[in-house]
Symmetry: C2
Subunit: 425 residues, 2 copies
Amino acid sequence: MTKTTTEHLLEHVAGNGLLHRRLFLTQGAAAVGGLTLLAAQPVAAEPLAIPPWMQAPGTHMSAYGAPSKHEAGVQRVVGGTPNVQGSGVSFTPHHLLHGTITPNSLHFERHHSGVPDIDPAQHKLLLHGAVRRPLTFSVESLLRYPTVTRIQFLECAGNSGQNLNAQPPQAPCGVIHGLMSCSEWTGVPLSILMQEGGVEPGNNWVLAEGADAAAMSRSVPLAKIMDDAIVALYQNGERLRPENGYPLRLFLPGFEGNMSVKWLRRLKVVKAPVMTRDETSHYTDVLLNGKALILTYPMEVKSVITSPSTGLALEGPGLYEVTGLAWSGLGKIRRVEVSADGGMSWAEAALGEPVLSKSFARFRLAWQWDGGPAVLMSRAVDETGAVQPTRASLVAERGERPNYHNNGIQAWAIAQGGEVSNVFA
Amino acid sequence: MTKTTTEHLLEHVAGNGLLHRRLFLTQGAAAVGGLTLLAAQPVAAEPLAIPPWMQAPGTHMSAYGAPSKHEAGVQRVVGGTPNVQGSGVSFTPHHLLHGTITPNSLHFERHHSGVPDIDPAQHKLLLHGAVRRPLTFSVESLLRYPTVTRIQFLECAGNSGQNLNAQPPQAPCGVIHGLMSCSEWTGVPLSILMQEGGVEPGNNWVLAEGADAAAMSRSVPLAKIMDDAIVALYQNGERLRPENGYPLRLFLPGFEGNMSVKWLRRLKVVKAPVMTRDETSHYTDVLLNGKALILTYPMEVKSVITSPSTGLALEGPGLYEVTGLAWSGLGKIRRVEVSADGGMSWAEAALGEPVLSKSFARFRLAWQWDGGPAVLMSRAVDETGAVQPTRASLVAERGERPNYHNNGIQAWAIAQGGEVSNVFA
């Protein structure tokens, strides 16, 4: 190894300090062998003292563990709807998390009339309407059917909607973009249950209804039901949490979250969309030309840098990991690019393996911050070739007001001194 | 579709009712179109009553969620060591879980002197010994380094050891095999940190020491440290739990769990294994010929059926999902076979996608139980070609006594009536 400066091997590949993604690829470390990353400033080793926690035995095993008291601030941010009991949202704090799996305790929530307290021994799923054989399934009976397991995201149609306001909200990344989460879902393919019932030809829609007090209901194309929809029973290994549909929910990979009806109690095979309250009064994208998009299903290609982001100030010039999440309701993420100069130049980020369909991909890039102003952005492309749009292009169509399906590019401004803020760049 | 019986399409591929894995493959449902699986006995639909939980709004959002009260029995089974505070194990209840991810609250535990209560602002990791530049890393400084994310298992060397007793333990699957779990781990590649320090040539081992009261210590080959070892900071998205090493642990994919030292505080580069108390008094496989295997690292290819298993009685003849976990510390699982007749005939199971290296693979097969006696077994093969051995072959080498690295085949006997018991078949 004859190179003597980091500049030779830590190649700058885009403006304002973005480095080649090789640092994150297999054998990446070998490529920078013998060099100092200066990601932090480790001090010379000193004799280690024996800390208090090594001077006496620690606590015992536990039946169901909990986070460290030092992480008590890692919580969902709860936002209710005034005067409406149990209605509202809670956000996943993505700026405090890493990886791609969202812990069940931090999965986002959106309830229309709160979390029902369901006795699983009493709960039934009814399959009726245009079927040859109407059926009811108990939870116990569903547990005997063949299952599938997949890691997939769920995103509320209203996620990131505040970024269509006229002014950029100065909130943590998780509050702006926290109505999305990613879990390992295990359940019974609906194609199997539909064939148990026998769908009558000419009926291409399914009404799904939840067992909450709102009887939240959506119309789902039969094609989706027969493709990759499941009745989910387990999330990240354990049974669903109450706020995620216990004892069972519909799960429609890639579709707007609201359609994956929680506490599922009824599937009715019908000829046409039912036009339920929930698919007409909500979840409709109003355009500037006065028209509205309704029954819009897949969540479009999108990405967001989770760190650095609002509230996570940089400590000083030097090397940082720029990292975030990318996903598409239409398939796999093909590529994510990062800019540190507000979109003038872009560098390809490293994607964590494996890249899964309709799932979070974690992207990363190393960034040598010189201490001056910078604007960080990320832009994802999915396997269909769809490119994440700018906020400006969405605003041109929809105006500056909160809306659904906002997949516009997020920009974070880094100020001299390291403070991070949300900007429309 | 002219076939009229399930027998045509639900092909029996091995003795005693095992069906072809096509039910679990893509388009599987289409292959059995129009047929009744009779996995359960759904009754004809009745008008659905409005249950109590739909008659009033439910509970509000929560900052950090918890399981349903109806799942309160899904806990780790805690086993302590008499008269030793904080020493012992707790087991992951795999017989009550599904998928491949283990929730953090249910990840197995093995402590040698309890769980230390570490202040992350005070904790340091020292890199010293034969390095050009001894360094200490704070948690904050580590959070700025490049990271990787991988889904990988962790298995205690002592897992399944009771199955080498003379009599088969009649305990739930999770208690026999619950010293293993699988998580998404995110952390800093140790290859990068080692290059920050600069290893002096001729030193091929690293002593790793934990900050618990036992100062649990193991010697690790430098080759493993430079290959795929990480300093783990996040588990399943959130920061490590206290019982899993908060604020940071060594993670050595595929190696016996004890070596992935929790609460890591010191890495010392040395010439040879240190022969610590923990690698000589424990984690040594004593053979019948009087010799002992020490410094045995990768956990060998293994599988276990999690359902049906002890305590999960079958309800009556009919279709069941036979499912379990397979893993290898040497790479990917290539194949899992299932037998329902005690090993006389075998059928290939379906593997959940994606199959990842040094990770849990979920396998599944449909089984038409005729109500008579049966013995269910699974046998895994990994990508190196290694085949999971029989218990008998391990006993021939080691005798009938608890031991480490038991990867023998597990057999579950189904009695007339559906009760399940652990048998040595």
